[in-house]
């Protein structure tokens, strides 16, 4: 039974990260925006939903909606200073923003529930949705279904956007600014919108994560999380949603399965943790060198 539950846990995490990689793919793969701070939206979503549900006692779905809106708003804020800039500046600013958001939740402990203060010690006892109705032994399966539902919703909406006129303009902007400009498209506005949509969906992923773990602290949201999501979309194939999902599954399996190598190999846990990170880093480099389009290539369509 243990193996089955672990597998379910793995799949729940894959769904959560699937939403993250779909949203990053929307910004980076389709929109061509180098967002290196995707974890910021993940983090804001997680904390917004936690605080709404725990302090304002609203329903889980309202919490998720709050996460959606708050992350979207933050994405809007971030894109104000950067919307006119080159990719290099995007990367640095978003990376910084991700760290600042984490610092905020690390340093501010007025975000509290009752007697306890948040900060580095995290927030415990985040309620799981519909826990009173569903028996404990099938709850993981229920949550798996729930996250799958949200993943499906994200996929459906983003796919519609990508295939629609919005996505076509976005892809044109990704290739070159001049063509969409000559057709009277406001490229800055498109970039801001893309950032907001992607950020908002990443917020949902944050909410879904913490309502399952029932615990959150700022160390969930290290910059490494962003890089792992990047690895997912690079391996799967940047610019298409199916690739992003396949990449998510591969990296997720690789990342979680190697955690247990220490039971079979005589190496220290510390060293193993480093080696796992090194392998992710090398994987990114190798994909960039030899498999630039990823496992699933983006379909080029002629209109």
């Amino acid at each position: 039974m243990g193996v089955l539950y672990f597998f379910v846990y793995l799949m729940i995490m894959a769904n959560v990260y699937g939403i993250l990689s779909l949203s990053l793919n929307f910004q980076a793969g389709v929109g061509g925006m180098s967002n290196f701070g995707h974890v910021a939206f993940f983090c804001i979503g997680a904390y917004t939903s936690t605080l709404l549900v725990m302090l304002c006692h609203v329903h889980f779905l309202v919490g998720i909606l709050g996460a959606f809106i708050a992350s979207g708003l933050f994405a809007f804020l971030i894109s104000i200073p950067t919307r006119r800039l080159k990719a290099d500046y995007w990367a640095i600013t978003t990376l910084g923003a991700g760290e600042i958001v984490r610092l905020f939740f690390l340093n501010e402990s007025w975000i509290s529930t009752g007697h306890y203060s948040g900060g580095p010690f995290g927030i415990r006892g985040i309620p799981r949705p519909w826990e009173s109705i569903i028996p404990g032994n099938i709850y993981p399966f229920f949550y798996l279904f729930l996250t799958l539902l949200f993943l499906g919703l994200t996929y459906f909406i983003l796919q519609r956007l990508i295939n629609g006129p919005f996505g076509r303009v976005l892809k044109a902007i990704r290739e070159d600014d001049d063509l969409p400009l000559s057709l009277g498209k406001n490229i800055h506005e498109f970039r801001v919108k893309t950032m907001v949509i992607g950020g908002a969906f990443a917020g949902i992923a944050g909410g879904l994560l913490v309502h399952y773990t029932t615990y959150v602290d700022p160390f969930f949201f290290m910059p490494m999380e962003t890089f792992i999501v990047w690895a997912m979309i690079m391996v799967g194939g940047i610019g298409n949603n199916r690739g992003a999902l396949i990449g998510t599954l591969i990296i997720q399996l690789l990342y979680y399965s190697t955690r247990f190598l220490k039971d079979y190999l005589p190496i220290e846990a510390q060293l193993l943790a480093s080696l796992r990170m090194i392998s992710i880093g090398i994987l990114i480099v190798v994909v960039m060198l030899f498999l630039q389009e990823g496992l699933v290539k983006e379909k080029k369509r002629l209109y």
């Binding site: 061509g32 104000i80 006119r84 500046y89 760290e99 600042i100 080696l275 992710i280 880093g281 990114i284």
Partner: protein, 305 residues
């Protein structure tokens, strides 16, 4: 805190980060991408010097010099192995590659040297008093080394053929090549220069504070903030940017905001309101955002978007 002390602290910080930022900006100038693995060269350099200084018992200056050379050569090796295949690739591709490389290098350091905090064998530093300022001999050494290095960089860039060739390659690689400049050789020199400057900066940070595998990553945002402040690609801008960042950080952290808000007690009584030190990083970030909003090409860069 005394104003002179704040200035000296700012100068120390600027000396350490300035070296890193100059290295970053010089590589950006030629290679035209933001190298996210750059700060890891600082980390590797610092740890190599640690091994030679503490484990092998070498003199710290000699250990530092060897470490700097080794890191410079390592960077050329990495260029041959990885980045040479990506010449002319999109800046996103280059940045993502450098990101992956950074992860591998950072965790490589952690795998080899472990995560525990380390320090050089330079003994306990007793601060001396100069014009009412407390400063340790090592900190004086850091400032002097940094100033000397910057003068050397200036001379290389402005007085040597290499500097001239570098500027030509930066402005127009094709034209430079047509004029008989071996641009790949220039690229190699730039990697060497950038990485060894980073290593030097890393050793300086290690001398002033301590060594951890995250020491490179934790200064990434300040270093990028300095480079953007000075205009990416402009080494002189980076020098000025480092000073501005050092001053802003130290003044920001040691200024009583309560006194400013109440106009020194004129309205209400509020003292002891400081920016928490946990937000030190936020100061760099805010500098970066302000510069990007106000003058995206930096204070000393050309105006272009």
């Amino acid at each position: 805190m005394l104003f002179q002390q704040i200035v000296i602290n700012a100068l120390i910080r600027a000396s350490e980060l300035g070296l890193l930022a100059i290295g970053l900006t010089v590589t950006y100038d030629i290679l035209k991408f933001a190298n996210f693995a750059h700060v890891e060269f600082a980390c590797i350099g610092a740890f190599l010097a640690y091994t030679m200084n503490v484990t092998l018992g070498m003199n710290i200056i000699l250990a530092g010099l060897v470490a700097i050379l080794v890191v410079g050569v390592l960077s050329i090796f990495i260029d041959r192995l990885v980045f040479i295949r990506l010449r002319g690739a999109s800046s996103i591709a280059l940045m993502v590659t450098s990101l992956g490389l950074g992860i591998a290098l950072r965790n490589g350091v952690r795998a080899i040297w472990g995560a525990r905090i380390k320090g050089y064998a330079i003994g306990l530093q007793n601060p001396v008093e100069l014009i009412g300022v407390r400063i340790t001999p090592v900190q004086i050494f850091i400032i002097l080394t940094s100033v000397i290095s910057m003068v050397i960089i200036h001379l290389i860039l402005k007085r040597t053929k290499l500097g001239k060739a570098m500027r030509a390659t930066s402005a127009n690689p094709a034209l430079a090549q047509a004029c008989g400049i071996h641009t790949e050789r220039i690229v190699r020199w730039v990697w060497f220069m950038g990485a060894s400057l980073a290593a030097l900066g890393g050793i300086m940070i290690g001398l002033d504070t301590h060594l951890t595998p995250r020491m490179g990553f934790s200064v990434m945002i300040p270093v990028f903030a300095i480079s953007i402040l000075g205009g990416l690609g402009n080494p002189y801008g980076a020098m000025v940017g480092a000073l501005i960042l050092g001053l802003t950080e130290n003044i920001g952290l040691y200024t009583d905001l309560g006194k400013i808000l109440t106009l020194n007690g004129l309205i209400g009584n509020l003292t002891g309101l400081y920016i928490p030190t946990g937000y030190k990083l936020a100061i760099s970030f805010i500098i970066m955002i302000v510069v990007l909003l106000w003058r995206p090409s930096g204070i000393m860069g050309k105006r272009e978007r």
